[in-house]
């Protein structure tokens, strides 16, 4: 369009000659977009933190052997009772079913699958912790510390000592923070584990583990896989749990279904296990967008009002422009571009304001027991939000400017000139 520069010059003069009103309109947008950026960065930062709290260390698929009675009882296998209606009362599960049979084979299969990032074997058992006269019950999990750290960020939750220390110390144990607290022991001390079979094992505390979930930290401890197998008096093929991490979380559900069907094991995928977290995330996102859109609608009404007023004041100008050869469309572009300039300037200032306040927030100290890996407020500086923000600003100001500009387009110059 050959008139672009002319139209822009007129727009500029109109806006600058009522700089106060233009600034107020732009500030409305700045406020709306700034709030959007702050809210969305903080909310998604928080989401990321909470997701990290649970999801980062949660296996995408958790495979274990649930203790439950066999579905198929001996009588069902017998041909002579196939036609009869069989009732068996008080079915009890078999003892010691928690072991995954052929666990190593299953792990090898999984490791070869190219959807799988990694696989960890675990041995879980109940124990009593004893130190001096205190006796506590709890869980001990035998792990491969190296793989657990690589796949599930295990090391992030060790507040004293380290995963390497555990690897180096076959007789070592990483105590849950709550357990250590209750037993009043620390790194370097000894703790006795009493197994369900009644055997006692003296272990050396090489670190303290804190997940942030108190009920977990009050019972849980970690030892090396071989140590756990030894606690139970089992060989190196004994595995109770397999944790799988995938490249794509979307594959978790179909894969877990496949595993539980094919291997007759219980396989829980991450979405089923943590459904409530996704709900929380989507509700927080909804609040963020609802608040921002509300603010932008308010800003939009401000722009609509100011442009309407401007057009009312500029009736004469519009009549002159039309009388001297400007078309309705030209006049419409003049007013739309005024709205868009307000939107662009207000929007960019909003991004800058939002970014600065987000930086301030991200530097505010935020220390809490429950989140050992965090020391300032979590803020997500995702460029995507800034693109959404500026699009928001332009779209809402375009909509706010459109109706007034249509009015300007349709003004009959004769009517205005006659009124003088």
């Amino acid at each position: 369009m050959k008139n672009t520069k002319l139209i822009f010059d007129i727009t500029k003069t109109h806006l600058l000659s009522r700089i106060k009103q233009s600034s107020i309109a732009a500030l409305g947008v700045t406020f709306g977009i700034g709030t959007f950026i702050i809210l969305v960065s903080f909310m998604t930062g928080l989401n990321g933190l909470l997701d990290g709290l649970i999801l980062n260390r949660t296996p995408h698929i958790h495979i274990y052997n649930e203790i439950k009675p066999s579905k198929i009882q001996a009588i069902d296998k017998s041909a002579s009772f196939a036609e009869t209606f069989n009732v068996i009362k008080s079915i009890k599960p078999k003892q010691n079913q928690s072991r995954i049979h052929n666990g190593k084979t299953l792990m090898d299969h999984l490791k070869k699958d190219d959807r799988v990032m990694g696989v960890c074997a675990e041995v879980v058992t109940k124990v009593f912790y004893t130190a001096s006269s205190v006796e506590l019950n709890g869980n001990v999990t035998g792990i491969d510390p190296y793989e657990e750290d690589r796949l599930f960020n295990f090391g992030d939750y060790i507040i004293k000592g380290s995963a390497e220390e555990l690897i180096r110390t076959p007789q070592g144990i990483l105590l849950g923070a709550g357990v250590a607290n209750k037993l009043s022991i620390n790194i370097g001390n000894k703790v006795q584990l009493v197994t369900p079979q009644g055997q006692t094992f003296p272990l050396k505390v090489v670190g303290i583990y804190q997940s942030g979930l108190a009920e977990f930290d009050n019972v849980q401890s970690y030892v090396n896989l071989a140590m756990a197998q030894q606690l139970l008096g089992e060989g190196s093929n004994y595995i109770t749990d397999i944790n799988v991490k995938l490249y794509e979380i979307e594959n978790a559900e179909p894969m877990s279904k496949f595993i539980s069907d094919k291997y007759n094991l219980t396989a829980i995928d991450i979405k089923t296990a943590n459904a409530q977290f996704e709900t929380g995330t989507s509700i927080r996102n909804m609040i963020t967008y609802a608040v921002s859109i509300t603010l932008l609608i308010v800003a939009g009404f401000g722009i609509y009002n100011i442009l309407n007023m401007l057009i009312y004041e500029k009736m004469n100008d519009i009549a002159i422009l039309k009388a001297t050869g400007f078309s309705g469309k030209d006049v419409q572009y003049i007013f739309i571009s005024q709205a868009m300039v307000i939107g662009l300037v207000g929007g960019v200032l909003g991004l800058i304001l939002g970014h600065m306040i987000s930086i301030v927030i991200s530097n505010i100290p935020f220390k809490t027991e429950a989140l050992p890996t965090v020391d300032t407020f979590p803020v997500n500086f995702n460029p995507k939000f800034y693109i959404i923000g500026i699009c928001f600003a332009l779209i809402s100001t375009f909509l706010a400017g459109f109706l007034p500009s249509l009015r300007a387009k349709n003004i009959d110059p004769v009517e205005i000139i006659r009124k003088q």
């Binding site: 010059d9 003069t13 002159i320 039309k322 009388a323 001297t324 400007f326 110059p413 000139i417």
Partner: protein, 228 residues
């Protein structure tokens, strides 16, 4: 002699608030280079006629010719273009864009036309302002100059695209005698030296007497035309 403007059996009705026959069977033409004035009592339809002739009002019956081309029934865009290029309009109330400089106001229609580069348009605009003897006001805001000066700026703006005709609706109606005479002399001079066609509505008998031809109107009709 060729006609710059011609109307044939023009009728205009206002439908609101009541049906009102504002212009009745108007027939006349203006030759190239002619300086014509329209006189008549207030409310007789002079402005209404001028808005139709200037193509801003298209709601009429009859036919309008510009440069011997029929323009009745042309699209809004074609008429806008015609107004921009071939018709200069001067209003009673100077009608400048108050926030722009005098120079910007004069340049505006030429920039809209877009045939010349900016620098050339600026030179032309300054030349027009010089022609009307107000080039020293060029960089002032249009709202900061006197009424007589504004009217001269409006004439300069009407001239910027070298139109075929200039129309004025009581262009001196708002000015004192001295300024009024000044503006008339400018128009007379443009007609004499540049061969510009002019059609000017006026209340001023002395003014009308100095034009080539006077059209007299009453109650929406032309009641007489002649050299005074």
């Amino acid at each position: 002699m060729s006609k710059i403007l011609e109307v044939k059996s023009l009728n205009k009705y206002f439908r609101k608030p009541v049906l009102f026959h504002a212009l009745r069977d108007i027939d006349f033409s203006i030759n190239k280079g002619e300086f014509v004035s329209i006189m008549g009592k207030s409310g007789c339809g002079k402005s209404t006629l001028l808005y139709i002739l200037s193509t801003m009002d298209t709601d009429y019956e009859g036919e309008l010719f510009f440069n011997e081309n029929k323009i009745t029934g042309k699209s809004h865009n074609e008429l806008t273009q015609l107004r921009n290029e071939d018709i200069g309009f001067v209003f009673q109330f100077h009608y400048l864009l108050p926030e722009f400089t005098v120079l910007d106001n004069v340049m505006m229609p030429a920039r809209k036309l877009g045939l010349k580069p900016y620098a050339q348009i600026k030179k032309d605009a300054l030349a027009k302002l010089a022609l009307l003897d107000i080039e020293e006001q060029a960089y002032k805001k249009a709202s900061r100059i006197s009424g007589g000066q504004k009217q001269r700026v409006a004439i300069a703006r009407a001239l910027i695209n070298n139109p075929n005709i200039i129309m004025g609706d009581e262009p001196t109606g708002n000015l004192d005698t001295k300024n009024s005479e000044n503006v008339f002399n400018i128009l007379r001079d443009l007609s004499d030296t540049q061969g510009l066609s002019l059609l000017v509505v006026t209340h001023d008998k002395d003014f009308a007497a100095k034009t080539d031809r006077v059209i007299e109107m009453e109650d929406g009709k032309i009641i007489g035309t002649g050299i005074v």
